[in-house]
Subunit: 380 residues, 3 copies
């Protein structure tokens, strides 16, 4: 593993604005697959509307396959998701009955102009590659050719033993602050100190953190080489203070890789649960527009048979409440309160934030100019 | 009648932007009489406020006559409609008792400055010509001299046998999309297909439409020369499909003038009801500002005595519910969803839309420069 | 006393825009003490947030003393008022535990960076001078050195016999229109004519008003040299008309100084109650931002012992209801309806308004450039 940053190094760059691409991506990095909607939310008859990375989408399922069209009729601008599915394989606009093929978006008929309408075949709505996998509908929002969906999934999701719970809610705030908050270790020690989870568990005072890269290059990892459980702060005293249940273990620990938290593009977090918890928590911060994101919480265990049953029971009775509601909802509060990148002053623990920014800024996927030109032309 | 456009002709102009005056009239065409408020809504004591074509109006009734003033005191900007009527023939501002003559808007007294206030006679609020006719208050919003109100009324309204029901509601959306929607034939075949009215009646697949002009030049008319009730659309099948009650009459009909729909300036629609329905539906799309209009629905029958009684019963039990609520409220939904003129792509049935645009663009009333200059000066 | 303006003089300047500093002070005059919050609203444990004169404030009480900090953590912009008070003498940000000294705003620790964090002492949040006096928390919002609080208090507040009731509510509208409305005599004769207070009392038709300055130069005073109780307005008749309870006293009265209303900087009104009412009404129009102000109503009597008890009873049963709710709430209605300064036309009774504008424009306190430079630097 390559070592990218280190806690003891100089304070990270702050106001230097070394991440121009990242700064420009206010409504999201486009050339990726995003989890748009849980499968169970899209019926067989209805269409759904979603805004992802600034794009208006009309989603529908036909013969078990998912189709996604730009959600705007080229005639008068009415959302196609308000339209009708009366013709199999087609969407008809509610306003004037313009009928589009769901596979390629081509205008096949404009009903009230008669079967010989000369406008047939002269217009298209844009279509977006879409797949249904693992209980989720995934959409490619890029201008380039889509990569295989597997490239944008954590590979452990493909293990047949994976049992996955998805939860999505639209939240105010920019997606980048949500990622930075997720990969940032240091806020947890303060913001989450009064969460339910902390009543029996405890958080350290400060750590010696190392940022590394996974072997396949896809994930950034933050890992605590040393954990200082409690410290004396001149003028303030001992911090943190522990209750009865938290008072155990020694003060300085050797970190372990099992505590690592990982982040990858476009906006995906992985938190291995410590010890013998046997499940992993994921988050996707799916951009909606520059001030909203679709917060996606995922709990995964790799279990079968009776153990899968027990896992599901545990999810519904414990994880959903203590982790997803009690812990993560504290993050939802601070994301929309944050200033633009300009007004900040960073400190040493922000190495995770700056490493992520550099990673996203430099290594995000982009289409070749030729591909982009070809696809953009085709859409017009 | 002059033939303006024809269905079989070339597709109408679309993105060519041939209607600069129409595009500029975002808050309405000003040199017209507009129906602002039903008579019954304006009491004898109270004043009312209304915004029409971007103008703020203060309306009041005095000795049976209607007066309309600009709804803003020139002293500190408080709406005059909040003021008092304690002095006959005058309006007193609620804030500092500036007293204006309702006939010419002149400042007659500024009460707390004493009877000899030097500001008397030095300021005016603008007044607007107004008339009460046929249960409605009409206001001239133009800068030019007002034409006779009769010029802006459908002439059949003046028949003493006319019995008129007015209904007004403020709706989001620009008035132009409301007119275009009203005069556009083709959306009805799709948008209104599931309205209550359609359960017993039916709508055709497509028509051969002709746009003509009325003999007095005031109305544009769309008229179906040929009506194709049902057609076969390759790849889709027969459309529309009819239920038991709708299954009658032959597939291709000769159109008849009794089905014609007419539109005139400033924003008035006339829909003769088919067959022996014996009443006519009108709509005014009275502009409020660039994103709201006062939707005015009118039902008129020319009946007296017992037949008038039966007509009123029919209005209250059937027409109001099936036509005004059930049918037209579907239009209210699509008007505010429409794009600016730029983002559209038109098709052949939009001949009615483009004929209206050209008509409004070229033939709207405008004051002579001298009149406008004179009236604008007088108002200052 | 210097005579500044006179009712019989020329109509006051109106559109001439002679008050550039006043016009520029849309969010308030900064170099003053403002009453921000009643003492009882700030607890011992909680922090409070307030926006005054465009500044975001975090207020807290520690060991009986008030501290005010800029309400924004320099790290990521989170309001400090959401943070924790667990360390005496310090405020800890809720997000990452940056710990600031409440006395000088210096960053003392950044907890999750460990006790030796190099960021310690390198950053400050701005602090604001604050005092608790007379049941109210006062904050200095200026860039210059603070004057003694006593300089910004009416001196009669310092009399130990003063018993003071404070009432604050945030209202829409710009603070300047609120001051102008408060010092303006003429609107009372019209706007407040139907208030409860007027049922037994009466207001005159017009006055001969003189604007003078208090001996210490701090207050502008409007004083009625002559009061014309009722007058005949040609074309309108006698005005005002009085009910049975109001019909007494002669028509023209000699004014008395006991009716005077005073205004001073930054935005403070004083209304001596007439006759033997034995109490005085004050108002502060504390600017929040350019379209909101914290309306502060104050009732003061100088009484002790049993007479203080009777005064308090009178406040709670009568003054609060008839004066503070019934009378002043009519003013809250007109302040947000007013136009910008540009759209007005002034008349003779507006001498009070223009005298106030000139006073505020020319005589408002401002820091010396050196002081401002020094303090601004220190805050950065």
């Amino acid at each position: 593993m390559e070592q990218l940053e280190h806690h003891d190094a100089q304070p990270p760059e702050s106001a230097l604005r070394r991440w121009p691409n990242y700064e420009a991506a206010a409504i999201g990095l486009k050339e990726y697959w995003y989890p748009v909607m849980p499968s169970r939310k899209l019926g067989r008859k209805k269409m759904s509307a979603a805004r992802i990375a600034g794009r208006e989408l009309c989603l529908l399922r036909e013969n078990g396959k998912i189709y996604v069209l730009e959600n705007q009729c080229p005639h008068r601008g009415i959302p196609l998701s308000m339209g009708s599915r009366e013709f199999p394989g087609h969407v008809a606009c509610i306003y004037h009955g313009w009928v589009f093929d769901v596979t390629d978006g081509e205008l096949k008929h404009a009903l009230p102009d008669g079967p010989d309408s000369p406008i047939r075949g002269t217009l298209c709505v844009r279509t977006f590659p879409a797949e249904e996998r693992l209980g989720m509908i995934w959409v490619w929002t890029g201008d380039g050719d889509p990569v295989p969906l597997d490239d944008d999934l954590p590979e452990e999701f493909l293990d047949p033993a994976a049992d996955i719970f998805w939860r999505q809610s639209d939240s105010p705030g920019n997606w980048r602050y949500a990622v930075e908050n997720g990969f940032d270790e240091s806020h947890g020690k303060v913001l989450h100190r009064n969460s339910w989870w902390l009543f029996f568990n405890r958080m350290s005072a400060w750590n010696d953190t190392e940022i590394t890269r996974s072997e396949d290059g896809k994930w950034l990892r933050r890992y605590q080489r040393k954990i200082v459980v409690q410290a004396d702060y001149p003028g303030l005293g001992q911090w943190p203070r522990f209750n009865f249940f938290q008072r155990r273990r020694k003060t300085v620990q050797q970190g372990s890789n099992s505590h690592a938290v990982d982040v990858r593009l476009p906006a995906t977090l992985r938190v291995r649960q410590p010890g013998n918890a046997n499940w992993t928590h994921y988050e996707w911060y799916v951009p909606i527009d520059d001030s909203h994101y679709r917060y996606t919480q995922v709990a995964v265990a790799w279990v079968t048979g009776f153990r899968r049953l027990m896992w599901r029971l545990r999810y519904w009775t414990y994880i959903l409440w203590v982790h997803h509601y009690g812990f993560n909802n504290q993050d939802l509060m601070v994301v929309p309160l944050q200033n633009p990148l300009k007004a900040e002053n960073l400190f040493r623990p922000d190495v995770s934030v700056t490493a992520w920014r550099r990673f996203a800024d430099r290594e995000h996927r982009r289409p070749s100019p030729e591909t982009k030109a070809r696809n953009t032309e085709a859409a017009e």
